[in-house]
């Protein structure tokens, strides 16, 4: 029909009013197969993880998720994800609590305060922090950060704030939940800060200049214009940072000390879902133990998917409302 009308849409619709060509069909088929493979891959991941967890799934059902146990003793073998879920929640949330204000501060500095010549280098520096592999940060944590925290920070916190159960007896090894929290905070800082920076850059200049023209101070302008405008995106950035912290296994397992306890003292050891899986990579003795390990991975997978879906949903809502370039899609 519209054989000569080359609107952009028609240029992309494959069979609009022209005869079929073998070449076109083949390319579409090949490319379509690749896309199908990518989609199937996701389903395959979910299926394989569920399949691997089956010995524990059928044995324990959903009770596994809240049980606080990991007892490989052959006389009373018992496994559960409870203490690791707690560890994941505590480490990720507290890491976010530490990293979020720092990240927002950095983003504000880079968009509002920094002299022009500093902006590019400091931005590059912060993004470099994101490029450091987790195993290197974990290694640094074992030999440098851990002993520093153990010798100086933990005793200071304990003597100043020891009445709070969080800051109990300092650890002796340098490996503790506290060290893991600091390490995670360092790792999620660049993600939250770079997304926030792009958000702040996207705030329309007229809005900011209008506020300033009305006589607000720069902080009041940020508080009254930038933050409300970018609020949805900031929440998404925080959630993405949280998702990154939840999924981190290597650096955490190197510095967290290990243990199946639930206790309030941050200076004790513990384990998260990711760190427990990574710590057991050298083998499981029984089918039930292997199944339980994979069950842990399943729980971790579900949590990551939920968190990332939440972030994506917020991003889409904000993008639809404001039409900003927020839908870069994908996590940092």
């Amino acid at each position: 029909m519209a054989s000569a009308e080359l609107t952009p849409d028609a240029a992309r619709r494959p069979l609009a009013g022209r005869r079929l060509r073998v070449g076109d069909l083949s390319l579409q088929l090949v490319a379509g197969t690749a896309a199908a493979l990518a989609t199937v891959l996701v389903g395959l991941i979910a299926w394989k993880v569920i399949d691997g967890a089956r010995p524990a799934l059928s044995h324990y059902g959903l009770g596994f998720v809240t049980r606080i146990a990991w007892n490989p003793d052959s006389r009373h073998e018992l496994y559960g994800a409870g203490s690791f879920l707690f560890g994941t929640a505590v480490t990720s949330l507290l890491a976010l609590l530490i990293a979020a204000p720092l990240a927002l501060g950095i983003a504000l500095y880079l968009t509002e305060l920094a002299p022009r010549f500093l902006r590019a280098p400091v931005t590059a520096l912060v993004e470099t922090l994101a490029a450091i592999p987790s195993v290197v940060i974990g290694f640094w944590g074992i030999l440098v950060l851990g002993p520093a925290l153990r010798d100086h920070v933990e005793p200071a916190l304990h003597s100043a704030l020891g009445f709070i159960p969080l800051f109990g007896t300092p650890s002796q090894t340098g490996s503790s939940i506290f060290t893991a929290i600091i390490v995670l905070a360092i790792m999620i800082l660049p993600i939250v800060s770079s997304i926030s920076r792009e958000l702040f850059l996207g705030v329309p200049r007229e809005l900011k200049e209008g506020a300033l023209a009305l006589g607000t101070t720069r902080w009041e302008m940020v508080r009254g214009v930038v933050f409300p405008y970018a609020r949805g995106g900031i929440v998404a950035a925080l959630i993405l940072g949280l998702g990154r912290a939840i999924g981190e296994a290597i650096a955490v397992t190197q510095v967290i000390g290990g243990g199946v306890f639930i206790h309030w003292n941050l200076f004790d050891g513990g384990d998260t879902l990711g760190s427990k899986i990574a710590a057991s990579y050298q083998g499981a003795t029984t089918k039930l133990q292997l199944g339980s390990l994979i069950y842990l991975a399943l729980v971790l997978l579900v949590f990551s998917l939920v968190i990332n879906a939440a972030a994506q949903w917020i991003v889409r809502r904000v993008a639809r409302r404001q039409g900003t370039g927020l839908n870069r899609g994908g996590v940092g």
Partner: protein, 350 residues
């Protein structure tokens, strides 16, 4: 624009070609013919890993074998050889009946003999402090928490012990050394036996978990006040202090060759079907015996495509290989056990 576009394209194609060339050349170089029959891969106990590491060069020059060994812990070794992803497994914990049947025709051969040392990191005190079983059990179950506790002081009257907190370190992976250690604890402490028992992993009430004997040695050496259990070769290599343990005859024995040999004399008859031996906490009549000594076993399938090479390797290991042991405090296995070992090795056929 065309110029820089071409430049980038050229760089991209060149890098891709380089990567492909490297991968192709490399994979072509590692031909299958070269690998079969000459690589013997094993995995398992980190306890025996120092000795196996000493064997790699001499075995290579004697028979041309390339010996590969991954110290992933006794539990991992048993799992790996059961899945036939390695040619032999190594475990300090003897196989259970279930593991034997899962392994489908594997034999268990004692191939080395050494001891688990209890290492400690305490400034200002000498090496070879005294310790006994019940006190050790109380330390690891969290009942004794400080170095200047009365029980420890009583064993070391002339030593000025600091009031540092004790930081216990245990194995986080499935470990034959844990099996040996808890085997000892449960024979000297009925409370430990009921609460924790023995195994390649137990439900530790507290303390830090580390991977492998190397990990435990690392953690203890970096933790003031730390205590841990490792094969004595690790204590030697890393210059860690360790205890002399009180044995059944009331004497304090060290995990040296004499102490290990005395302990080994207490049981020279491997079990008829499983070949296992238990030399933990030997009876009174061995006054020199170190009470936390253990044999360590190699687990091999009786029928395998590399049977002839495995036989050669294992014969060498239990005879000539033992000579590499003493400087790492591996006591050469006594004659009666050697005879049984050789008989079992002969069972490995293609």
């Amino acid at each position: 624009m065309p110029k820089s576009g071409n430049f980038i394209r050229t760089i991209a194609l060149l890098s891709l070609a380089a990567v492909l060339a490297i991968v192709a050349a490399g994979t072509a170089g590692a031909t299958p013919a070269k690998k079969s029959g000459t690589t013997l891969s094993g995995a398992g106990s980190s306890f025996v890993a120092p000795l196996v590491a000493q064997w790699m060069a001499p075995i290579g020059s004697a028979y041309g074998y390339e010996l590969q060994y991954n110290p992933i812990g006794s539990g991992g070794g048993v799992a790996a050889v059961t899945a036939r992803s390695v040619d032999f497994g190594a475990s300090d914990a003897p196989l259970t009946a279930d593991q034997f049947s899962a392994c489908k025709g594997c034999v268990q051969i004692p191939w080395a003999l050494s001891a688990t040392s209890i290492i400690y990191n305490l400034d200002g005190v000498k090496n070879l402090l005294h310790m006994d079983g019940p006190t050790l059990a109380k330390i690891y179950s969290g009942q004794i928490t400080q170095w200047d506790d009365a029980a420890i002081k009583a064993l070391n009257k002339s030593v000025n012990l600091p009031s540092t907190k004790i930081a216990t370190v245990h194995r986080s992976d499935n470990s034959g050394t844990t099996y040996n250690f808890t085997d000892y604890l449960q024979t000297v402490s009925p409370a430990w036996k009921t609460q924790y028992g023995r195994g390649v992993a137990v439900n530790w009430p507290s303390g830090t978990g580390s991977r492998g004997s190397a990990g435990v040695a690392a953690t203890v050496s970096q933790t003031p006040g730390g205590i841990g259990y490792v094969d004595v070769a690790y204590a030697l290599k890393n210059h860690l202090k360790f205890f002399s343990m009180k044995n059944r005859s009331g004497k304090f024995a060290t995990p040296g060759l004499k102490g290990i040999l005395a302990a080994a004399t207490s049981d020279q008859k491997p079990e008829s079907t499983t070949n296992e031996l238990s030399i933990v906490n030997p009876p009174k009549k061995y006054p020199l015996a170190y009470p936390i000594s253990t044999y360590t076993y190699v687990i091999v399938p009786t029928s395998s495509p590399k049977a002839a090479d495995l036989r050669k390797f294992l014969f060498w290991a239990v005879t000539k290989g033992q000579a590499f042991g003493p400087k790492l405090l591996f006591q050469p296995i006594p004659k009666p056990v050697l005879v049984v070992a050789e008989k079992t090795i002969a069972k490995i056929k293609s």
